[in-house]
């Protein structure tokens, strides 16, 4: 029975178990780094250093390469994120319809800046280039839900829905 060399310590953590499942799914596949990172982030919510190290070991590549890819793409995060990720569209259509005021209202209400997370790990605030829902501009997404036709008042009411 082949035992993977990285499992010197017994695997008990359910997240690590899931990650092992991801590894076996992508084993031997070319160009697997990005989907593995995406799946790992799905499990952990972000990409802790230890996870990056085990990915590097599993895919047999230098940690520097993994780190390079992680920091290149906007989707990957090295720090914990909020339970609700608010992505405020700052695309052209939203911009000309006042998206920056929506961003300001959120920053003021949550007392965090673009890219930051509230201390209670409830909300993360991010700007995004375009959500492709320009017909409803200005738009934001909270996790997978899209909210459109925003005004300052509407935004504050939407926040209350997320507890």
């Amino acid at each position: 029975m082949c035992q993977c060399c990285c499992s010197a310590e017994p695997v008990v953590d359910p997240k690590a178990q899931k990650l092992a499942g991801v590894f076996s799914k992508y084993r031997g596949e070319k160009g697997a780094l990005i989907p593995v990172l995406q799946a790992a982030q799905e499990i952990y919510g972000y990409l802790p250093k230890e996870v990056l190290e085990s990915i590097a070991r599993e895919l047999k590549m230098p940690l520097s390469k993994v780190y390079g890819v992680v920091t290149f793409y906007a989707q990957f995060h090295l720090k914990p994120r909020g339970r609700y990720v608010i992505r405020v569209c700052q695309g052209t259509a939203c911009h000309v319809r006042g998206a920056s005021q929506i961003m300001e209202a959120l920053q003021e209400k949550l007392a965090i800046k673009d890219g930051e997370t509230t201390t209670d790990l409830k909300f993360t605030l991010e700007s995004v280039a375009c959500l492709g829902a320009c017909g409803l501009a200005p738009v934001m997404m909270v996790n997978d839900e899209t909210h459109g036709r925003l005004t300052k008042d509407v935004v504050l009411k939407i926040l209350e829905q997320y507890e």
């Binding site: 990005i34 290149f72 052209t92 000309v96 280039a129 829902a133 017909g135 899209t146």
Partner: protein, 603 residues
């Protein structure tokens, strides 16, 4: 059988279409009509602003902005008795006339929908509905009656050019890949639709995913590839889901996989989800991203047709391009070439957004004028304001003024005017949009998205952004304009990839058509559109103010003072210029001053 089509695109879902669907099914069950009436969730109609959209067939009745509470009326009146619910009909902007039938609405009547034909009319998660509208017939014709060379000839004959931006002839591109030696080749679909303000690819993937798959299969057969990837943007979860469903169904029914349609042709298709990098829309960057690397572009040649993924010959086209292929194979290249202009064939989907009345997707024949798109289909400018400019082609495109409204929309005319077709985003701007601010906005975007590999783009975009920011803050000098022009030309000529080469376009076109606005910012510290915060002061017209206190109560900075029923005033030192007071004022007493006008309140 009566069908009720409910849009389940991203826009309509955000406006509540899932709730409408659930309620309708419940209501039909309760009334015992579930057996006679079929509820279908469709893809996007491209008229998202009017969502959720519900269509009743037969009869072609178009209901817009439908909410849960409207469902009982639709069931009781329309479905049970064949009556129309007037309040849910679309009202034409301007005349205010209610329109009953989908195809009578101006927004749709003037369009020619080839690529978007099925979007909104079939269930994208049901292969049978695609087959019922001649789905996979193009593939069948290619595989069973044509040689690979004939397929390429057909596509060349159609005159189809790449819909992702540069407009390279698709058939010629296929021919390159076909001629490239190698036993392993790939087909890649670029669905990394990153241009802000463009959402036609999302709409096609959500509304008619099989058309894209069919286009890729035909391409695979033509160039001799047996494997393909669709690279989808991370921000499009619904499109990804629909594609997964479509791939599974097509595989199940023998349209993908081994020995397709019994012809011995094999093709497998995989989805790669992007991870959030605009530059990955550039083809060489996209290919290296599929390989699992940092998505940075490389020098061409070698072109992907020679060395693509894992150094194998690869043909890469965008979503809309592939979606055009099935109809070309079904109806023939010469039929397709009869639409459009001499050098730009077929139709193009434009995303109308910004300060336009009818926001949405408009598919029109090439060569139509900008005026027809914006005023006939788009319904003109919101709130009776004046048209100022249209930004075409995303951050790499240009801003065109009203003098060019009669410009025919085709690849070559647009390039000549300093803009580009790009992906087809049309962002309409009115008199309240500052063109210097718009240029700064785009530079801010391209600067952030610059991958940093080549110096002209990495440093050039940063310096240009600094200059533009300076000008919008009233700190610019006249020499800045020359400096900007010089830098813009250097970056345009020397950057490594399309992102850098086109990043200066917004600056060059705004300088070409709106130079007076730059000069006003520099010479008079004036922002004519009253947008740039550093150059405006909020002021209350003392004679118009009736002292209602609405503005003072809504001001988050406590910058407004004044007793009830007495004229109020704004303390410029405290004012954050957020604009809430103007929204609240019913007297129109609050105005933004700029340039010399500001001296009114200096003391």
């Amino acid at each position: 059988m009566r069908r009720v089509l409910i849009c389940a695109g991203t826009g309509c879902v955000a406006s509540g279409s899932r709730k409408v669907t659930a309620r309708l099914k419940e209501e039909l069950d309760r009334q015992g009509l579930a057996e006679q009436i079929k509820v279908v969730n469709t893809g996007c109609h491209g008229f998202c602003e009017q969502g959720p959209i519900v269509i009743v067939e037969p009869g072609d009745i178009f209901y817009c902005q439908v909410q849960e509470k409207d469902v009982p009326d639709i069931v009781a009146k329309t479905l049970a008795n064949g009556e129309v619910v007037d309040r849910l009909l679309f009202k034409e902007p301007g005349s205010g006339q209610a329109v009953t039938r989908y195809h009578d609405i101006h927004f749709y009547a003037k369009q020619q929908r080839l690529v978007l034909k099925n979007c909104g009319h079939i269930d994208p998660e049901n292969l049978d509905e695609y087959l019922a509208v001649e789905g996979y017939e193009g593939l069948k014709r290619a595989l069973t009656t044509m040689t690979r060379e004939q397929v390429i000839e057909e596509v060349k004959l159609s005159g189809l050019r790449g819909r992702g931006g540069a407009g390279f002839p698709t058939g010629v591109k296929w021919e390159f890949a076909y001629n490239s030696p190698g036993d392993k080749k790939y087909v890649v679909c670029n669905a990394d639709e990153g241009d802000p303000g463009a959402f036609m690819d999302r709409s096609i993937l959500e509304g008619d995913p099989h058309a894209v798959i069919e286009g890729m299969l035909i391409c695979g057969y033509a160039i001799g590839a047996d494997e393909g990837y669709i690279y989808v943007r991370a921000e499009y979860p619904l499109a990804t889901h629909r594609l997964r469903v479509a791939i599974a169904q097509a595989t199940d029914r023998g349209y993908l996989g081994e020995n397709i349609l019994g012809t011995g042709f094999n093709f497998k298709l995989k989805i790669k989800e992007g991870a959030g990098a605009f530059v990955c829309g550039e083809e060489t960057a996209l290919l290296t991203s599929i390989e699992g690397n940092r998505g940075m572009p490389r020098v061409r040649p070698p072109f992907p047709a020679v060395k693509g993924i894992w150094e194998k010959p690869t043909n890469i086209n965008n979503v809309e391009t592939f979606a055009n292929v099935p109809v070309i194979l079904r109806k023939g290249g010469s039929w397709y070439a009869s639409i459009g202009t001499e050098r730009s064939k077929g139709t193009k989907v434009f995303a109308l957004t910004g300060k336009i009345i009818n926001t949405g997707l408009a598919e029109v024949p090439m060569g139509i004028t900008m005026r027809e798109i914006i005023f006939d289909i788009g319904g003109g400018i919101q709130k009776g304001k004046e048209f100022k400019a249209v930004q075409i082609g995303g951050p790499s495109g240009g801003c065109l003024p009203k003098e060019l409204l009669d410009l025919p929309v085709d690849y070559d005319s647009l390039t000549q005017a300093g803009a580009m077709m790009g992906s087809g985003g049309l962002v309409v701007m009115d008199e309240t949009t500052c063109m210097v601010d718009v240029a700064r906005f785009f530079l801010n975007f391209t600067q952030k998205e610059s991958c940093g590999k080549c110096t002209p783009c990495r440093e050039g975009t940063k310096r240009m952004l600094e200059i533009l920011t300076r000008i919008t803050e009233g700190k610019g000098e006249m020499t800045d304009i020359e400096r900007l022009e010089r830098l813009a030309k250097v970056v345009k000529n020397t950057a490594l990839c399309g992102l850098g080469q086109t990043a200066p376009n917004p600056i060059l076109t705004t300088l070409r058509y709106f130079r007076d606005e730059y000069e006003a910012h520099i010479n008079e510290a004036s922002c004519p559109a009253r947008v740039c915060k550093e150059l405006i002061t909020y002021w209350i017209h003392q004679e118009k103010c009736n002292g209602c206190t609405r503005c003072a109560r809504s001001c988050a900075s406590s910058a407004i003072a004044g007793a009830a029923k007495q004229p109020h005033s704004i303390d410029p030192a405290k004012c954050s210029k957020c604009g809430v007071c103007i929204e609240k004022c019913r007297q129109g007493a609050i105005v933004k001053l700029t340039g010399k006008e500001r001296q009114l309140v200096k003391h």
